[in-house]
Symmetry: C2
Subunit: 349 residues, 2 copies
C-alpha cells in the first residue's frame, strides 16, 4: 500500500462517521500511512466513489437523510460497486446488522474478501455467525479479517488476549460485556425499577429502542462466541451457549444481594475443560471479592485466567461511537503495518 491505505466504508452511521473524524485527525499529524476514503455506501444515504480520495470534511457534512449522497455521487446504495470499483485496499463493514443472524454484515464481509480486500468489521453478529467461513475465505485470499470493535468497542481485548501471553494457556474467559444491562442493574441497586432503569438507559442513548438483544443476553452471547473464536480459536454456535438475560432479576433480588454485600451482574463465561468449552451467559450474584463485582455502569471488563500467570483483567469502554471507531482505526493500522502509537518514541524499551 506504499504509505497509503485506501478504505471503503459500508454503512455510514455513527461508527463510520466517527472513523472519518479520527482519520482526519490522523492524517493531519502528517504520519504515514495516509488513510484515504475512496468509497462509501449506506442503505439510507446512497453511495459515492472517488478513487483518489473523497473529501473527508465534506463526507461529515452529509446529513443522515435518505438519498443525501446524491450531492457527492448517487442517491442509491451500492455496496458491490463500492467494493469493486473504488480501488480500495480495505473494506470497513459497519452496517446495521442483525445480531441474531449477522446479516447483511456477514455477506458483505465475504463479498469484500472474495474481491481481494482486507476486511474490518465491528458487527459482533457477523463475526459470531460468520467467522469460521470468513476466516477461511480470508486465509484463502491472503487477506486479513479483523474485528477488534466487536467486543468492548475500542478497548483492545482481542489483541491483548491473542498477542500478550506467549507460551501461556487461557483456561477461562469471563466478562461483563454489555454496558446497557450493567447500567440497568446498577440503577436497580440505587432503588429504581427495571422499567425505570431501562427508560434511563434509553434516554441516555445506552439502550436501543428495542432493547431485546441487550436484556435477553443475546448481545453478550454473540460476544462470547466471538471471544471463543478469536481468543481460543474455537467455534461455538448459539445452541452451544445457554443464555439467560436479566429480566428475571427483581428489585427484591437486587436488595437481598445488596444486603449480603453482593451484586447481580450479567456474566458471559467460557471454561476450557480439556477439549471442551463450557460456555454460558446469565445473571450471577457475585461475591464482593470477585474482580467483576466492581465493574459499574457502562464500563465493561474481560477477565482471563492464564496458566501459569493467574487471573488478569482489562476494563474499559464497552460501547460508544468514537470508541468503536477507534477499534476500526487500530485494525486499519494493524493491516497497514503502522503499529506504533501516535506519541511513541523510537527509543522506547
Amino acid at each position: 500500500m506504499h504509505g497509503e491505505c485506501k478504505v471503503a466504508l459500508l454503512g455510514f452511521g455513527g461508527v463510520n462517521r466517527g472513523l472519518v473524524e479520527l482519520i482526519i485527525a490522523h492524517n493531519s499529524r502528517h504520519r504515514t500511512p495516509t488513510i484515504k476514503i475512496v468509497g462509501v455506501s449506506d442503505l439510507l444515504l446512497g453511495h459515492c466513489i472517488n478513487k483518489s480520495g473523497l473529501d473527508c470534511e465534506m463526507l461529515l457534512q452529509v446529513p443522515a437523510r435518505e438519498g443525501a449522497f446524491a450531492v457527492l455521487g448517487n442517491a442509491a446504495p451500492d455496496n458491490e460497486g463500492v467494493i469493486s470499483d473504488s480501488g480500495c485496499d480495505v473494506v470497513v463493514e459497519a452496517t446495521f446488522s442483525n445480531v441474531a443472524t449477522g446479516e447483511p454484515g456477514a455477506s458483505l464481509c465475504e463479498a469484500a474478501l472474495l474481491a481481494g480486500k482486507h476486511v474490518v468489521t465491528t458487527n459482533k453478529g457477523s463475526v459470531a455467525h460468520g467467522a469460521d467461513r470468513l476466516s477461511s475465505v480470508a486465509a484463502l485470499m491472503g487477506r486479513k479479517f479483523l474485528y477488534e470493535g466487536a467486543v468492548m468497542s475500542g478497548t483492545p481485548v482481542l489483541v491483548w488476549a491473542t498477542d500478550c501471553f506467549p507460551g501461556a494457556r487461557v483456561t477461562r474467559v469471563r466478562g461483563i460485556l454489555n454496558g446497557t444491562t450493567n447500567f440497568i442493574l446498577g440503577q436497580m441497586e440505587m432503588g429504581f425499577s427495571f422499567n425505570a432503569a431501562l427508560e434511563q438507559a434509553q434516554h441516555l442513548g445506552y439502550a436501543e429502542a428495542d432493547p431485546a438483544a441487550d436484556v435477553e443476553g443475546l448481545d453478550t452471547r454473540a460476544k462470547i462466541i466471538v471471544l471463543a473464536k478469536s481468543v481460543l480459536g474455537r467455534s461455538l454456535s448459539n445452541s452451544d451457549v445457554p443464555c439467560e438475560g436479566v429480566k428475571a432479576i427483581t428489585s427484591e433480588m437486587i436488595a437481598q444481594a445488596k444486603a449480603e454485600g453482593r451484586r447481580w451482574k450479567l456474566v458471559g463465561d467460557i471454561n476450557v475443560e480439556g477439549d471442551e468449552l463450557l460456555a454460558k451467559v446469565g445473571p450471577v450474584k457475585l461475591m464482593p471479592d470477585d474482580p467483576l463485582s466492581g465493574i459499574s455502569s457502562v464500563t465493561n471488563a474481560l477477565e482471563l485466567t492464564i496458566e501459569p500467570l493467574g487471573v488478569t483483567m482489562v476494563t474499559g469502554p464497552g460501547a460508544g461511537r468514537v470508541e468503536t471507531a477507534y477499534a476500526v482505526l487500530s485494525d486499519l493500522l494493524r493491516i497497514v503495518g503502522g503499529l506504533v502509537r501516535e506519541d511513541e518514541k523510537t527509543d522506547a524499551g
Copy 2:
C-alpha cells in the same frame, strides 16, 4: 537461533528457579523453540556452564546454599564467564539488586549487551536507573533489552501499553503498583494497626524483612520511572518524581475515609502535559467510583488514559515467583519470535 534459544541466568533465586520450572514445562510440550539453559551464576551458589545445555531438573535440585554449584561446576560466582563462555543468545538478569541504585543488575545488563547478547531483566531498579544507557547500548549492538517483569510481574502491561494502541496517544499513566502497601492499607481498613498489618505482610511473604522500599514508595517510584521510559519513551530520574510513602497514614485517617466511602491507596501517577511529564508517588484518598478504588490486597492495576479511547485498565498479579518468571518466559519468546500462545489455534481471527 534456529528453533533453539540458549539462555544464561544471572542470579538463581526464586524468579530464575521459577523460570527453569516453566522452561521444563515449555520444552515438554515439544514446541519450538527449545529453550536451553547453558550457564548460571549466583553470588551465593557459584556458577556452572554447559554449552549443550544444563540438565534443568538437576539445576532445580541444587540447594540454596553457599557454593552449592560445586556439584555442577564451580563454588565461586562468575557472571562474566557465564556471559562470555556459555555460548548463550540471551542473558536473563535476576540478581538481588538495589532498587535505589539498580546495581549490580544495571552493570550486568550492560556487560551482557556489550558481549552481543539479548538481555531480559526483572530488576525495576536496573531499568529505572539504567534504561537510557542500556537501550542505547542495545540499539547499538542490534540486540533486544526487555523488562516486562519489572512492573506488575507477569501481568503484561508494558507490551499492552506499547503494542495495543496504534494511532492513539497516552495522556496519563496511573497505577497501584506495590502489592505490599496495598495489602497493608486493606488490613488497616479491617482495623489492624500499620505495624500489625506490616507483620502480617511479612509473615505471608509479601513484604521484605526491610520493608523500606515498599512502604516509603521507592518501589512504586522505580516502576513509575520504568513506565515513563517504556510506555512514554521518556526519561525520568528519582528527583523528577516527588515520592511519599504510606507511613503517615494513620488508623484514624483510614477510618475517616471508610466513613466517607473512600479508600487510601498508594498511587503512582504520570500526567502528560504537552512536552512535560508531571509524575508523583503518594497516598491518595480515592473516591468510590475511581477505578483504582476497587483494587484490593496484592492485586496491582495499571490505568491508561488514551486519546481517543478513554480510560482503560489492566489488573493482575503484581508480584510472585512464578508470575515474574512468566514475564521472563514471555520476553524470551518475544526475542525468539515464538509469539503464539501455547494453546493458540492457527485459524484464530
